[in-house]
Structure formats: C-alpha cells, structure tokens
C-alpha cells in the first residue's frame, strides 16, 4: 500500500506559498497544491516541471498545414486540373489560406489533447475529494498536498510551525 496523501489547508495564497517553499526546502517530494485559481509563483515554489505543450502544437500545426497544402496542390495540379480563365494550375496563394486554417485547427486540437494527457483528466474521482472541506478548494481555500512516503502528519505539522494552517488531513490512496 502506498503512503497516504497529506493535505494541509490554508486561508490565503500567501500562506500556501510560504508553506510550499518550506516543504520544498525540507526536501519533501510529491508536492502539489489545490487552489481555486492559478497562484502566481506557485509552480516555482513547488518546483514543478515545465509543461511541454508548445512544441507538439507547433509541429502538429506545421504538419497539418503542409498536408493540406499538398492536398490542394495534388488535386489542382495532378488529379483534377481545371483551366479557369487561364489561371495557373498551381495557384498556391489560395492554397495558403486553407493550409493556415488547418494548421491553427490542428495545433489547437493537439494542444487540447496534450492538456488532457498531461493532466490525466477527465478523471471524475480522486482520493482528495474525500477530504472534509475540500469543496472549498474550488472557491476560497488553498491546499498543499504532499505524497511523500517519508512524511506523516506530525512531521508536516512541525514543518508548518508558525504558518496559519487551518487543518491537516491524511487521505489513504
């Protein structure tokens, strides 16, 4: 069985940031937080890894744009050449418009996919929802979560000494 998840509840983002920095300096691992809005500086305080999102989006956009351009070129020049008022068959300027739209669309879809893969959502249930008062994590409370096998409630409480902590809970995972 894995170690329980520890959740400490705070009144405002500043105390959460303080607690997060202290937990990181103490060498605790598996740090996360649950907040109603993105708190500036929190990813740094928790030492979260940089998300890799933009490179796949860029590549997907370029590939889709290239494919659509190739499709237009193939159909207009090779497969279905049609002389329209003497315009060149390879009227690439007009293909660019379609390639652009396809590139944006595909980059967006890949970005959304990367978000879902990276976050593990949709995942309708999670152990943290069992914590009493956790429903306020989406409204006005700020939670620090620690998933470190070496941490337990007394150690976390000792670490948070001097920071206004509303409650500390352990949730079995």
């Amino acid at each position: 069985m894995t170690a329980p998840l520890l959740l400490a509840e705070f009144e405002n983002p500043e105390t959460l940031l303080q607690a997060a920095r202290r937990a990181r300096e103490a060498g605790l691992r598996g740090l996360d937080a649950h907040t109603p809005f993105p708190v500036e500086g929190l990813p740094d305080a928790l030492a979260l890894p940089e998300p890799r999102l933009r490179l796949p989006m860029l590549l997907a956009g370029l590939v889709a744009a290239g494919l659509v351009f190739a499709m237009c070129w193939y159909s207009a020049v090779v497969d279905y050449p049609l002389n329209l008022g003497g315009r060149p068959l390879n009227s690439w300027q007009t293909f660019v418009i379609l390639a652009f739209e396809a590139g944006i669309l595909c980059a967006t879809l890949v970005g959304a996919l990367a978000f879902f893969l990276g976050s593990g959502l949709p995942r309708l249930h999670h152990p943290v929802f069992a914590v009493p008062g956790f429903e306020r994590a989406s409204q006005d409370r700020f939670f620090l979560s620690v998933a470190d096998p070496l941490a337990d409630i007394p150690r976390l409480m000792a670490l948070l000494e001097g920071i206004d902590t509303i409650s500390v809970h352990a949730v079995p995972r």
Partner: protein
C-alpha cells in the same frame, strides 16, 4: 509605495474570494428565474420557432420567397452572414487580446464575449446555406471522397470561407470550454441538488485545482490566445475576400480585408457592450461589471469608429484616384443612387454618433455607451447590406441593374436570427456562470499583493 491597484473600480473594495464566487454562482444555482427572464425567454422561444418555420418554408418553396433577384443575388442572407460573423469575430478576439495584453478588466467580460462568439458564428454559418439554390448540396464544399471523382475548387472564396468558419468555430468552442472547466468544478462543489452535482461534475471532468493542472491550463490557454489573434484576423479577412476576390466595382479593393476586420471588432465590441449592460442589469452583477468596463469599451469603440472613417476614406480616395470609370460611377452611386439615404444614415451611425465618446462624461454614463453601441450595430448592419446592394445593383452591365426590395421573409429571417441569439444567451445566463470566477479570484489576489 505600493503599486497602483489593478482592480480599481473593477471589484468591490472589501471583496473576498467567497463573495466573488457567490456573486456569480448564486445567479445560476440559488435563484429562480425572474419574471423579466421568463417573458424574454418566451418571446425569444417564439422567435426561434418562427425562424425554424421560415427556414422550412424557404427550403420547401425555394429562394424565390426572398428578395434576391438575378442582379442582387446575395441580398439579405449574405449581408446577415457578414454582420453576424463580424459580431462573432470580436468575442474570442477580445478575450484573447485582453489576456495577452494583461488587461485587468478582462475578467468579468471574457466569458459572455466568448459565448457571444460561439452563438454568433453558429448563426452566421446558417445564412450562406439559406441563400443556396440547392441547400442540400452545401456539403460539396468539403473535400470528401466521392464517386463523382470531384474535388472542391480551392480558388473559390466560398471554400476558404467554409474552412475559416469551421476552424474558428471549433477553436472558439475549445477555448471557451477550457476556460469553463475550473468554473464547472466550482459549481459542482456548490451544487445542492444531485442533478447539479452530476451535471456540473461531468462537465468539470474531475477538475481538482491541482497546481500542476493549473500550470498546464494556463500555458495552453495563453498559447491558444496567441493563436486566436491571427485566426480572428483571417476569418474576417476571408469574409472580405468573398468580395475583394471578385471583379466588381466597389468590391475589388485591397483595403477590404483590414476594413472588414476593423468593422468586425467595432460591431463586436458594440454587441459586447449591449450584452454587458443586459447581463449586469438582468443578473444584478453591478459589483463586477462596472462603470470602468463601459468607459474602456467606449474608448475602443471610438478608436474603431476612427478606423472605419479611415477605411471609408481610403475606399473613396482609391475609387477616385484609380481613374476607373466604373469605380467612379460606383462612388457617385453611393452618394446619389437609390440607396443614398441609407448610405448617409450608415455614415451617421458609424462615424458621427460614436464621436460622442470623446466626452468623458458620456463614457462614464452606461446609458450613453449602450445607446452608441446599439446605433453602431444598426450602422454596421446597414454597411453590410449596402456593400452588397450598391455593387450588385450597379454592376458593369446596365441590363443587370436593378433595385433590391426585401420581402416579408427576409425581415422575418433576420428577426428570427436575433430571437434565436437572444434565446441562446438567455439559456446561457441561466445555466453557466456569466463571468469567469477563477479570473475574478486571480484579479482579487493581484490587488491583495499590490496592497
């Protein structure tokens, strides 16, 4: 010395996180709809039914019931299309541009601006199908494998139009839903009924406000916002190229794409102002949609009006300086032809009336800003309809010249589309949070840091 308060005049002075959440979410979850909402909803539903009836009749009897004739083939439907897509252009643009430029007043208005985009673009997409002689073949615009061995004609502006609308609609839906996920979690956690918990819970996808998820969310959201700007510009530029890629006098002008984009933002901001006033009043959100919002939007409308003046001026100047008799004849027709009174009314609505907003007193008055916004939206509709009527009524071939006379069905379909839009907005106001609660929370946090 502390930094200036970014939320000055945007949030109540003593606001707390809990109050902000309650202000927005109670409108959806704790209150029964009022009498005004019910009456508006009944009327909007009736108009939506009327629209459905008109479209059914149009499909059965054909486009002969509209005023479209052999000269003015585009008539009302394409003008309505351009008008609606213009309104639809602004919502996602506003949300994205204000995010990237870090405007603190974005927080309360971005949600319904995005919703406005989705509804307006969807409605806009109906109109090109309505003006087709054979609407059942609209899907021929897509490159699908077919037994006829045919490809779409990539050089046709109609195909570009179709691609840009679809891309924009899908993009706007994803952008909107992504911003909505955290708010759905808030509604889930505040729901008191089982149905509310289940429905909002499913829509929240299990969001738990994890810092890792927020980081990913924020990164994706900003990246999409950066993608949104060129996309928005492309959508209305393509709508403009429906005209500019032709050989018609008054249409074949290089100014058209930027001119249409400015017009779209102008009318879109106008519609956002009108909706902001209605939502503020109807949902009692005076605390978060404030005078400052209307004042800054008033400034943008004024800038839009000046941009329109520059566009019209360029149009006239290039018609004169080109020396092309057809272009000059078209310019003369604008001011002296059959539709001259409408053209002058349009100039009054779009250029003269918004000048009121130079006055600080006018910008601080919500009624004045809303009045200007309503007038300019009428003006923008006139502009769209006149772009089509003036050119098609006065083409190169004198034998093809004729005046467009709208029929009852033209007007009913236009009114029905407005009713359908109102219907969708009314439903939105009852089931989704009208402002992004997490963005308001973030704004409040910024203020607390600056103190």
């Amino acid at each position: 010395m502390s930094a200036p308060d970014p939320a000055a005049g945007l949030l109540p002075p003593q606001a707390t996180y809990r109050q902000l959440v309650a202000t927005i979410s109670n409108r959806v979850q704790r209150r029964k709809p009022g009498r005004a909402w019910l009456i508006a909803f009944a009327l909007a539903s009736l108009m939506t039914l009327m629209l459905a009836g008109c479209i059914a009749l149009l499909f059965v009897r054909g486009i002969g019931i509209l005023g479209n004739n052999t000269g003015v083939v585009w008539g009302f439907p394409i003008a309505n299309y351009v008008w609606w897509i213009g309104i639809g252009n602004a919502g996602t643009f506003i949300s994205a541009a204000l995010l990237l430029t870090r405007q603190p007043w974005r927080a309360a208005i971005n949600r319904f601006a995005e919703v406005m985009t989705i509804f307006a673009v969807s409605i806009a997409g109906i109109f090109p199908i309505l003006h087709l002689g054979r609407p059942g073949y609209a899907y021929w615009l897509t490159p699908y494998p077919n037994s006829m061995d045919l490809w779409p004609q990539w050089r046709s502006a109609l195909v570009w139009d179709f691609a840009s609308i679809v891309a924009y609609l899908v993009f706007s839906l994803i952008f909107f839903f992504l911003g909505l996920i955290p708010d759905m979690a808030t509604l889930r956690d505040r729901a008191r009924t089982r149905a509310g918990q289940v429905i909002y819970g499913l829509l929240a996808l299990g969001w738990r406000g994890s810092a890792r998820h927020w980081q990913l969310h924020d990164r994706l959201y900003r990246t999409l916002a950066a993608l949104a700007l060129p996309l928005v510009v492309s959508v209305h530029s393509v709508a403009a190229m429906d005209f500019a890629a032709s050989l018609m006098p008054g249409w074949q002008e290089t100014i058209f794409p930027p001119y249409f984009v400015i017009g779209a933002l102008f009318s879109g901001f106008g519609m956002v102002v009108v909706l902001a006033a209605l939502i503020r009043q109807g949902l009692g959100l005076q605390a978060v949609i404030t005078h400052r919002h209307f004042a800054v939007m008033g400034k943008i409308i004024l800038a839009g009006s000046l941009g329109m003046a520059l566009s019209y001026g360029t149009e006239w100047f290039s018609a004169w300086t080109s020396g092309d008799p057809a272009e000059r004849e078209h310019l003369r027709f604008l001011f002296t032809g059959d539709y001259a009174p409408l053209y002058l009314a349009m100039l009054g609505c779009n250029l003269l009336v918004p000048q009121l907003l130079w006055s600080g007193r006018a910008r601080r008055s919500i009624a004045a800003v809303v009045a200007v916004a309503v007038v300019l939206n009428i003006g923008m509709w006139l502009e769209r309809i006149l772009i089509i009527w003036n050119t098609l009524s006065h083409t190169h071939l004198p034998a093809m010249r004729g005046v467009f006379v709208p029929t009852l069905w033209d007007w009913l379909i236009l009114a029905g589309s407005l009713g359908f839009f109102a219907f969708l907005m009314l439903v939105f106001a009852r089931i989704l949070p009208a402002a992004a609660m997490h963005d308001l929370g973030r704004l409040l946090h910024q203020r607390e840091q600056s103190r």
